[in-house]
């Protein structure tokens, strides 16, 4: 690895820990609270998680825990999409484990959850760990999207753990991966393996959160990176005064990333999918509202602007959701017939004969390029690939139409951007570096206290790190039952943007002003050094939520 000057310097950074975790693990003991329940469907979940359902919330206090010094091997898995700070979770886990007993070993399973099933692992040594401290990426051991769901997989996991004398597995992942962690933990308990499973809340999307998990790691760094770029583009728009920039932002279903970036940069518009769904808006309504802003600004001499669009928008618009579902069904059920159609116009004709009236109208309203994308870019199962739809271009074309329909003769030139991969592997901000290291160290303390089926939890994050509150939350406590691929399954509930939350209310209270005036704020690049006001800054989301 050829090192950049920043990477060389970041190796020297010592992440901050909560005061309690600065003790040796042998001096930290768990304090268990009252039994817990679930987010919903407690009866059903109790049946599924016979061993772990109802486990108490764990906190820590200073006190002897000699078990932390017992010899112990641990395995760690990175699961799903990259998020800044993953390496620091492993570093915290490594340091916590070695602090208990320096003979302890940490094994990293390679390439995600498949690594444990296939027994592909590497021992994490001092040298290996030191090459990845405070860096972005998941490249130390790689990640993957294999789901641990079947009994065959679970039995293989048990074999591998026994062979390597591993007594605990830490899974670093999002809501789905932690759901799998809960099921795996339950299976390990049922089989009396003595192997514990601890999860760590990872995802830039910010949709794995609740009372005990104030934010998932990576959200801070990713949104700072996107906000840097949005701010730079805003400044460009406000200097050149001739373009509208339509910026799509990663974040899967939830609009947390878009909302956070809007709070940081104050753009002229930001669509929140959850609100569009609640108000049952059509795509044309969304476009018309943007067109209103474009027209108002143009009449005030401002023929430029910047708007944010969450990646998941399309699926929250009822008519589009229906259209995509019908398309998937029609193309699956009539694959042979459909594939015989000569070209796009023949396909369009055929589809119109088969669509419901609503979907025919929705399809008709789409610009040709987007309609083609819907028919062409399908996944291996033949389904429309929603994430590939260029919503930013779709919306700007519809805005152009809406302006024309209003009979307005105004200048509207749009440029398009999509930010996602740019932020998932940035060097973690000081916040994420500290938070991740604490999550990992904390996981080692949960293990040393004999706990399993827990998510590593660090709270009070808006305060300085020494005041953070470490602990563990039973994974079952965050679960409910949901339909997945036609089956009712226990899952960790995905946290979407709540329209009565403090961050959304802050946005809603200001957006009309931001639309009409030019209130851009320019966050600039993430700073790892310098005045505390710039290098220890947390997200606006965390700030407003902590003021509740």
């Amino acid at each position: 690895m050829d090192l950049s000057p920043l990477q060389t310097e970041r190796y020297r950074y010592q992440p901050k820990l909560p005061a309690l975790l600065r003790k040796n693990p042998t001096e930290i003991k768990a304090v268990l609270g009252e039994p817990t329940s679930a987010y919903a469907d407690a009866d059903k979940l109790k049946e599924i998680f016979k061993n772990h359902f109802g486990a108490p919330v764990a906190l820590f206090e200073a006190g002897p825990n000699p078990a932390a010094a017992a010899p112990r091997n641990i395995g760690v898995i990175l699961s799903g999409g990259q998020a800044p700070g993953g390496h620091n979770v492993i570093a915290g886990l490594f340091d916590g484990l070695k602090a208990g007993n320096k003979e302890n070993k940490l094994f990293g399973f390679l390439g995600g959850p498949s690594g444990i099933v296939d027994d592909k692992a590497v021992e994490i040594t001092d040298d290996l760990m030191n090459a990845y401290r405070n860096t972005g990426g998941f490249d130390i051991i790689g990640s993957g999207r294999t789901k641990l769901e079947t009994v065959e997989q679970f039995d293989k996991c048990i074999d591998v753990c026994k062979r390597r004398n591993i007594s605990a597995v830490v899974i670093i992942g999002g809501d789905d991966s932690n759901t799998n962690a809960a099921v795996l933990a339950e299976y390990f308990a049922e089989k009396k393996t003595g192997i514990s499973v601890i999860g760590c809340p990872k995802t830039i999307d910010g949709d794995l959160k609740n009372e005990y998990i104030e934010t998932s790691f990576g959200f801070d760094t990713a949104t700072k990176t996107y906000a840097e770029l949005i701010g730079n583009i805003e400044r460009d728009a406000n200097s050149a005064k001739k373009y509208w920039h339509f910026i799509k932002l990663m974040g899967r279903s939830a609009s947390h990333i878009a909302l956070e970036c809007a709070l940081q940069t104050q753009p002229n518009f930001c669509i929140i999918s959850e609100e569009v769904e609640k108000e049952q808006k059509t795509l044309m309504q969304v476009a018309k509202e943007i067109a209103d802003i474009v027209i108002t600004r143009a009449k005030a001499g401002k023929t430029f602007g910047v708007g944010l669009i969450p990646e998941g928008l399309i699926e929250f618009i009822p008519e589009m959701k229906k259209l995509i579902a019908e398309l998937n069904d029609l193309m699956a059920q009539n694959e042979a017939e459909f594939s015989q159609l000569a070209d796009f116009s023949a396909q369009t004709k055929w589809l119109k004969q088969h669509f419901s009236k609503d979907s025919a109208a929705a399809f008709d309203s789409l610009p040709e390029g987007i309609a083609k994308q819907l028919l062409l870019d399908r996944d291996p199962h033949g389904n429309v690939q929603v994430s590939l739809i260029e919503t930013e271009k779709l919306l700007s074309e519809m805005v152009k139409k809406a302006i024309k329909a209003r009979g307005e003769e105004i200048k509207f030139s749009a440029l398009h951007h999509f930010f996602g991969y740019e932020g998932r592997c940035a060097f973690p901000s000081n916040f994420d570096a500290d938070y991740c290291y604490s999550l990992g160290y904390n996981a080692s303390v949960l293990i040393a206290n004999g706990l399993s089926g827990y998510l590593s939890s660090i709270r009070n994050l808006a305060a300085p790190a020494d005041q953070w509150i470490p602990g563990g939350i039973p994974l079952t406590m965050m679960m409910n039952m949901e339909q997945r691929h036609g089956m009712l399954k226990p899952v960790i509930r995905k946290a979407l943007v709540e329209l009565d939350s403090a961050p959304f209310r802050e946005f809603a209270a200001n957006r009309d002003k931001w639309a009409e005036e030019t209130c851009y704020t320019y966050p600039g690049a993430i700073q790892y050094y310098g005045p505390s006001s710039v290098c220890d800054l947390t997200t606006r989301t965390l700030y407003f939520e902590s003021r509740k």
Copy 2:
């Protein structure tokens, strides 16, 4: 303006000046060297620039220059695309002017060169200036692309300057804008107006440089911003191990930005347009060379990678250059007939009957989406808009074809990015903040020494700022005669990437290794604070050039 924490802190930054410029302008006097000539076509240029041709290079030394204290109004213009640091050029100019005599006034012409013609200006006050120090963007007075070329415009400039009692105009711009500055300066001299014109070398593209102008301002910050994003994407590619990222980079014709970013991030490939042209490569050859890299990596288990593509590539590929020229001619000469053609297939048929054999073949080799872009996205004059061609998608589609043609069954999934607007208005790096402030301050000293038709020059930039060498270069010295729109015109020569330059040789010596192995380097976000190794870093281009 709602200020971000970084913006608030950046206001406190005091840009560094060369040692000599830390004196009061009344203590700095110009030392003129021998008469100069031109880059080429001296005889012709001597005729055009009767007053300014042959002016000596100016350096400074400590010594009395009471003229610096004389009352004086100056006008300043931002011309062309944004580049980080423009506000600091104005700040340096402002501070230099006020240091000479605090009654002096600086007027900012609004919206670019049209501001002086239309007499739209604002006086730059302390409060206004302080709100923009060390920030990105050109929003303090706005920019524009109007060219100052006609006698009518020049006469209006004289009127406006007389009315406002302005005795010097500073034009902050690229090669074209500084060419205009030279012509304007000559006109002012010919008319004996006593008004001087000084240029400042701006452009993120890095193509305004020569022996005396080591780099244009903004190049440092823009490339650092792009390299941050490229590095983050490289780390993502190396973690997920499933995508090839094709990244197009702004930079107009020249490939300086792509080359600098390649030196900073060590990607698997980087196309240098100048090399493609020199070796007379076809588009398919370029694609085949990338395909070779993709195949070699895939066979070694690495089905991922990152490649950089300069914005101007298409115009350097002889067959494409010819195709575009033929297309422009054909569509212009047969506009009525062409516009009657029903659809893309009718257009294709018609074009094939009219193209030369080579262009018909080149057109045929293009993916349909790109061929359509060529026909649809035309500028107001009916010309193909080369900058809108999605070269990154074009190349990845042709690479896919080339892999298939080789009969290789390898996984190749491409993702596409275009970075440009993200970097033009970033907060200037410490280097650009210092360099720009020095350029502006230096311009005020050139004016105070009665010079006109000069470009502000700060040399020895790879050394610490106190060792920088301030001075002025006659604009005519950098000029030659070139065909522009069918006429032979005096222009500042655009500096393309030289294939025998130290930065290119460094790249060429390493690229095979970077292609096959994974040697990614992750620069991370621009740091304005912290260890000198991270916050005072200059470009690799400047580093290698200074070692010559």
